[in-house]
């Protein structure tokens, strides 16, 4: 337990470090939201200065940092200049959308990769192994960005799927009955793109974990006892191979918030990833930091979860 508390404190320190780095990086950027505002001839320089003072952006970095920490503690997460609202109002719906997209994609990717990886690791049929190798090396070679563009091309050419966004314009203000189906239709292509990104990584790791365990002496012993092959694989080999897979699972949990950035931006999915791109372009100071912090926080939390799971599952770790 003490070990875990230490890990928790370490994670918190890490989060603190990330927030400092994010603040320093974003703050040393030339120009801020109000500079872009100055391009508007109707807004006088004194007005810009007054606004900057009103929002506390004229203060030095440590003061801004403190104000942000207080605001996070109050659940506001800073202030968005572009939306003229406290950042939490913008962040949470976006976070929900991101989790909807990447959560379902990650779940499906695991659901496909686990049987595929086990099959590829355990099979003695040569063509299955080479087919899986071919699939993974093809998917690895295609960058997510390119795959996304190709999927968009498919959508545009065939019209089977909506081209972007999360809901059809007709349904946004209308009645709610068709919404889940509509969102699901919008989810398909970006989800597919994310699955294709995860699949090779997961399959390769699962395969190599299974292959490694299959060479262990205890497998031969179990086989000589006459344990049926499928039972051997599922009851004896898979749990023994779980250790690296749990770390991988923690990674995929941690990437839930951050993995979909590119896909969101490409498909116009209103999530955290698109938000950070928009915020950078608008110089929306706190939103950039909040998005970075959410992504890093998710990542750290995922690692922590993996550690905890490992400790529960693998007695060797507890020593």
């Amino acid at each position: 337990m003490g070990r875990f508390v230490r890990r928790l404190l370490h994670s918190l320190a890490l989060l603190f470090g990330v927030s400092v780095v994010a603040f320093v990086l974003v703050d040393s950027a030339p120009g801020d939201f109000f500079d872009e505002m100055r391009l508007d001839p109707q807004i006088s320089p004194s007005m810009v200065a007054a606004l900057r003072k009103q929002y506390g952006m004229d203060r030095p970095l440590p003061a801004k940092y403190l104000a942000w920490v207080v605001s996070v503690a109050r659940g506001e997460w800073g202030f968005s200049f572009a939306y003229n609202a406290s950042a939490s109002h913008i962040l949470w719906p976006r976070l929900r959308n991101t989790l909807l997209l990447s959560g379902s994609a990650t779940f499906l990717a695991w659901a496909i990769a686990l049987p595929l990886g086990v099959l590829a690791g355990a099979t003695r049929v040569r063509w299955i192994g080479s087919a899986v190798s071919l699939l993974t090396s093809c998917l690895i070679a295609i960058p997510e960005l390119v795959l996304g563009i190709l999927l968009l091309l498919f959508a545009v050419r065939t019209g089977y799927f909506p081209i972007g966004g999360m809901r059809s314009a007709a349904l946004v203000n209308g009645h709610d009955s068709g919404v889940p189906w509509d969102v699901l239709r919008h989810l398909c292509l970006p989800g597919l793109c994310l699955i294709a990104g995860w699949l090779p990584l997961l399959v390769l790791h699962i395969r190599s974990a299974i292959q490694e365990i299959l060479q262990a002496p205890f497998v031969n012993a179990a086989r000589s006892y006459g344990i049926p092959r499928l039972r051997l694989l599922l009851v004896h080999v898979l749990p023994a191979a779980a250790n690296p897979l749990i770390s991988l699972f923690g990674l995929s949990l941690g990437m839930l918030i951050s993995s979909s950035l590119l896909v969101e931006a490409l498909f116009g999915w209103p999530g955290i990833g698109r938000l950070i791109l928009e915020s950078i372009q608008a110089r929306d100071f706190f939103l950039v930091i909040d998005c970075t912090m959410l992504a890093a926080g998710g990542f750290i939390l995922g690692n922590l979860t993996a550690d905890l799971l490992l400790e529960v599952c693998d007695p060797r770790i507890r020593l």
């Binding site: 990086l25 070679a141 563009i149 091309l153 950035l261 970075t292 990542f299």
Partner: protein
């Protein structure tokens, strides 16, 4: 040492693609920013060998594309005159390797026809020429940025591993912070360092600096591990016992091992950094027009019309996949070789 049998096809492909792109000025028929407004979104020019009379020509020729009146972006071939493709023709001036002034191009056709082997973009600029010149920015920002972050990582990681104690703690804690932020988010918040609109001249260097800055942590951690394990090896201890200096130890024993790892990592990082540049430029945060890069050449595809009708604008994507594949194979090759050592 194991004897090198055959040249690895992946390495050959890497060398070939980088070589062609290095001499982009020679291989590209036009300059990257030569516009032909009357040939906006023209499809690739077809090469012909048989003319209308059915005569065979050894030298391929093309017909001039002409816009159909009243229909935007629709072209037909003007069959009244043939334009043979000439080789080693004089054309627009360019600088070979950025040094030598030259004006010979590998191939080209006489004016007023345009040889657009990969079609043209909105401004009627030759897509193939832009692909080659854009590759100069995309590939080399990838290579240089990977180099920067590897060198930075090796220095810091080597320092941490060799010095140990508080330096090790400090460097590794900072590395942990950098590793805790997912790659694209780190990239974007570091991109926020630069002004929103960067002029094309400075962007190349700045972008490389940013990319190199954000990626130092992983190689640092790796090199630190190597140095730590090196320091405990018997021959290093023996050398130290004989009174070898720190500099000698690093140069003769530790650096060679770290360098071979760095070479392997390079094959892993270069495509990642190429993709980073492409991603930034794609979203309008990297290299900006009129300078070409594979990222900002793909950017028009965010528009549905372009995506639907101008399939030839996908050529940077094809180039990207090719380069990726080559680097993947090279990495697998190196990693395997290292594993056996």
């Amino acid at each position: 040492m194991t004897s090198r049998k055959a040249v690895d096809p992946a390495l050959l492909l890497i060398a070939l693609s980088h070589g062609v792109i290095l001499f982009a000025g020679f291989f590209a028929p036009y300059a990257a920013d030569t516009q032909n407004r009357e040939l906006s979104f023209a499809p690739p020019t077809a090469l012909h060998f048989w003319d209308l009379q059915g005569h065979f020509h050894f030298r391929p020729f093309i017909y001039r594309s002409a816009a159909l009146a009243g229909q935007p972006n629709t072209y037909r071939e003007d069959r009244s005159r043939i334009f043979p493709v000439h080789f080693l023709v004089p054309g627009t001036d360019y600088r070979l390797l950025g040094l030598f002034r030259a004006h010979r191009h590998l191939f080209g056709v006489d004016e007023p026809a345009r040889l657009l082997l990969a079609g043209s973009d909105f401004y009627g600029r030759d897509e193939l020429s832009r692909l080659l010149f854009g590759g100069q920015i995309s590939l080399f920002s990838g290579v240089f940025a990977a180099g920067i972050s590897l060198v930075l990582g090796m220095l810091l990681g080597g320092l941490a591993g060799y010095h140990g104690r508080w330096v090790d703690d400090l460097v590794m804690r900072i590395a942990e912070v950098f590793l805790a932020v997912p790659w694209l988010y780190l990239l974007l918040s570091a991109r926020a360092l630069l002004p929103l609109h960067v002029e094309p001249h400075g962007v190349f260097l700045l972008l490389m600096a940013v990319l190199g800055l954000v990626g130092w942590a992983r190689p640092a951690r790796l090199v630190r591990g190597v140095v730590l394990s090196c320091r405990k090896q018997d021959f290093v201890l023996a050398a130290r016992g004989f009174g070898a200096s720190d500099v000698y130890l690093i140069r003769a024993h530790i650096f060679p091992q770290a360098a071979s790892i760095a070479a392997t990592q390079m094959a892993l990082y270069v495509p990642q950094y190429i993709l980073a540049e492409v991603t930034l430029s794609f979203f309008g945060l990297g290299v900006s027009e009129p300078a070409p890069s594979w990222g900002n050449m793909l950017a028009p595809l965010q528009d549905n019309f372009t995506l639907q009708f101008c399939w030839w604008l996908l050529s940077p994507a094809a180039a990207l996949i090719l380069v990726f594949l080559a680097y993947r194979k090279a990495f697998a090759h190196y990693a395997k070789a290292q594993f056996h050592l």
